[in-house]
């Protein structure tokens, strides 16, 4: 949208409405001179009353084009012309017949009244036109600013739009609070340019300053443009205030969300934290007991309980820490070149105790390229996906992990033959602390695993999804971008 205010002004009216004082008074005189010439030429065929109507017409024309005072001047000139050219004795300003005197006075009154009415109409039309132009300008500004997503962009849109609308050689704005500023410049124009400083206010408080270059030879009424400039500045003040309020509202919303999250966290994990702690405490106090003699096998069993439950607790705490790191934006991927099978086998090896008698098939496409990834984060994603698959599968339900590549991405998928994920849960499974309803009571878990997966994949520029077209169980895939030089 590259309109300026000049193009918003209707061209026809612009030409009819004379602006410059010289043009306005000169025009009025020219109109009366033309009326006189026509009247003199047409006198043989006209009656005296028609000649006076000629002049009234001229005065009306002068009123419309040039306003009230030039019209009054035109009326007086008409009076002199009629007196001089058409009233006996001719070519003098002397009036011989007494009955001509009221006729001429009547004429002057009619001409001035008509001129007054016509110039009022002219003024009204001009006013309406200016208001229209101002409305269009304000609309253009609000459009431009609403496309901005941050304060700096908003300020930049303001100075660009204002400079364009008012055709200013430069326009800049500076805010007091954060010291932000924006500046716009247009091709320099001829003529004198004055620097104009306006305060930027909202609710009687000065929030900044607006500085513009003001050309002194404006075609349109300078006071109108100045008024428009003030309107635009007021709108900027309002827009900045609105943005501030919206930001505050968003912050409150964020706090409310995180509060909700904390409540969910507490209810979800208190159970998961307590269960292993209870088992560890129980086993340890049994081992300390002096009233029972534990056989070496039973001792080993109690110790195994402690070790297993410690691992479970460690996994849970690690997940919670990861989630808080993701939410705080503190995860910085440490990417390096790896082959994906290295990640897959490393993960399987570290999960060996959990895999136990489950079957995990590995299908890795031949000749996969090296890829840049964060080994630790990616291993954890894969580990969480496999732990989920193991949790929801019995030993006779095989699990598979596969890796393949497209020209743009490297894709890893984990499939199981468990109960799958209900359609109503699909869009929520990657949200923190969300647990599929059907399984929440049967299978232990805190509902953070997939949220962490998503966080760790997205921070590496990848994507993760649940494949709804796979119906034999659950299929979760993730893709990591291949470097551009590999994308042919």
């Amino acid at each position: 949208m590259h309109t300026s205010l000049e193009t918003l002004r209707p061209r026809g009216l612009e030409r009819v409405f004379l602006q410059h004082p010289l043009a306005r008074y000169g025009g009025a005189m020219l109109i009366i001179a033309t009326s006189t010439l026509l009247a003199v030429g047409l006198e043989p065929v006209l009656q005296t009353e028609s000649i006076q109507l000629f002049y009234v017409l001229g005065v009306l024309l002068a009123a419309i084009t040039s306003g009230f005072i030039p019209a009054t001047l035109a009326a007086l000139l008409s009076f002199i012309s009629i007196n001089f050219f058409f009233t006996d004795p001719r070519y003098t300003l002397f009036i011989a017949r007494p009955e001509d005197i009221p006729r001429l006075i009547e004429f002057v009154i009619v001409a001035i009244l008509a001129g007054a009415l016509a110039s009022y109409a002219r003024h009204q039309a001009g006013q309406a036109q200016r208001r229209g132009a101002q409305a269009v300008a304000l609309y253009a500004l609000s459009q431009a600013m609403s496309s901005a997503t941050n304060q700096q962009a908003r300020l930049q849109q303001f100075v660009n739009t204002t400079a364009r609308l008012l055709d200013l050689p430069f326009c800049s704005v500076q805010l007091n609070a954060e010291g932000q500023q924006a500046h716009a410049e247009r091709k320099p124009r001829d003529g004198t340019i004055q620097r104009l400083d306006l305060p930027l206010e909202y609710a009687n408080t000065t929030i900044g300053a607006l500085t513009v270059g003001w050309p002194l030879d404006r075609r349109f009424l300078a006071s109108d443009d100045l008024y428009l400039l003030r309107l635009l500045a007021a709108q900027l003040g309002q827009a900045l205030e609105n943005a501030r309020l919206a930001e505050a509202a968003a912050q409150i919303e964020h706090m409310r969300e995180s509060d909700k999250l904390k409540t969910a966290l507490l209810s979800s994990i208190s159970h998961d934290l307590r269960t292993p702690l209870a088992a560890i405490k129980g086993a340890a106090s049994e081992l300390q007991a002096t009233d029972v003699h534990w056989s070496p096998e039973l001792q080993q069993q109690l110790l195994a309980t402690i070790t297993d439950q410690t691992a479970r607790l460690n996994h849970l705490v690690a997940n919670l820490l990861d989630l808080s790191r993701i939410q705080a934006g503190a995860v910085k991927p440490n990417k390096d070149w790896y082959s994906i099978d290295e990640v897959i086998y490393h993960t399987l090896d570290s999960l060996a105790p959990l895999i136990d008698d489950h079957t995990i098939d590995v299908e890795i496409a031949p000749d996969l390229p090296l890829i840049q990834l964060d080994f630790v984060l990616t291993e954890q994603v894969l580990s969480n996906l496999l732990i989920n698959a193991l949790r929801y599968s019995s030993a006779d339900q095989p699990i598979s992990v596969s890796a393949s590549a497209t020209p743009q991405e490297l894709i890893v998928a984990v499939r199981d033959h468990g109960p799958g994920i209900a359609a109503s849960d699909r869009e929520h499974v990657f949200e923190p602390f969300y647990r599929a309803r059907q399984s929440a009571d049967r299978v232990p878990g805190s509902g953070v695993g997939l949220a962490i997966c998503r966080g760790f994949i997205e921070v590496q520029g990848g994507r993760i999804w649940l494949d709804a077209s796979y119906t034999a169980g659950a299929l979760i895939g993730f893709a990591l971008p291949r470097p551009e030089e590999q994308q042919l």
Binding site: T310, N314, A318, D322, R325, N334, D336, W337, Y338, S339, D341, E342, Y345, H346, D349, I364, L370, D374, F375, V376, E379
Partner: protein, 229 residues
């Protein structure tokens, strides 16, 4: 061993310090403990332990500063303890001269294995040992030859240099930067893609199952480690 190996444990957590003191004393080591970097450095200077176990997160001073101070005057092996996701700190510590690391929580077995590796590196002099065995893999430094079982393995000169470095440091973590600097020279320290390629080739030649390596294992985000036995 003439006298018991002395190990300094510097950790601000009382429970962990106490546990390590108990487990290590029970296995015949002499243990010094300190809760702060300052006390730890005083103990190290006064009693000169053979091995240092150092927590990176100390209250009074960064663990990295402790490594720097010790390395000013001693080559004592340092095993660092740190949390998950602190790869950058681990690499910084290893580059400053720490010998190995353990991620918390760890089992006593893992710590003892690291300590054994450190002890062996204290005793051995590479020149006295032309033959090094790890499992059925044998490198002959005198004849520049490598065998797995009875089978001769043919390596390119770069692969050989890489394997030699691993065998001399078996059981010990080697960072990407260390491997690149030692094998390719100082200009290559960032070129991990090059390193990946050679590790993959070497594994193809020496590992029975190259994608489930038994000799050269990956230390995610840090580097590689040659198996100890």
């Amino acid at each position: 061993m003439s006298a018991a190996t002395m190990i300094a444990v510097i950790d601000d957590e009382y429970a962990l310090r106490n546990l390590l003191e108990t487990s290590l004393s029970a296995r015949g080591y002499t243990v010094l403990t300190a809760a702060t970097a300052k006390l730890g450095l005083e103990q190290i200077a006064a009693r000169q332990p053979q091995i240092i176990v150092l927590d990176l997160g100390l209250p009074d001073q960064d663990g990295l500063e402790v490594i720097r101070s010790v390395r000013e005057w001693a080559t004592t092996p340092i095993i660092i303890l740190s949390a998950r996701h602190e790869e950058a700190a681990k690499i910084a510590a290893l580059d400053l001269g720490a010998d190995d690391y353990l991620t918390k929580p760890f089992s006593t077995d893992e710590l003892l294995a690291r300590i054994r590796v450190a002890e062996r590196h204290l005793q051995q002099r590479p020149a006295n040992e032309p033959l090094i065995d790890v499992g059925d893999l044998r490198i002959d430094l005198a004849n520049r030859s490598v065998k797995r079982g009875a089978e001769e393995i043919h390596l390119t000169p770069t692969e050989y240099q890489l394997l030699r470095l691993f065998m001399l440091n078996r059981g010990r973590v080697l960072t990407h930067a260390t491997l690149l600097r030692e094998v390719w020279g100082p200009g290559y320290q960032q070129d991990t893609q090059l390193l990946r390629g050679f590790i993959a080739q070497l594994r193809q030649k020496i590992e029975p199952q190259p994608n489930r390596p038994r000799f050269i294992s990956t230390e995610p985000g840090i580097g590689y480690r040659m198996a100890d036995e």
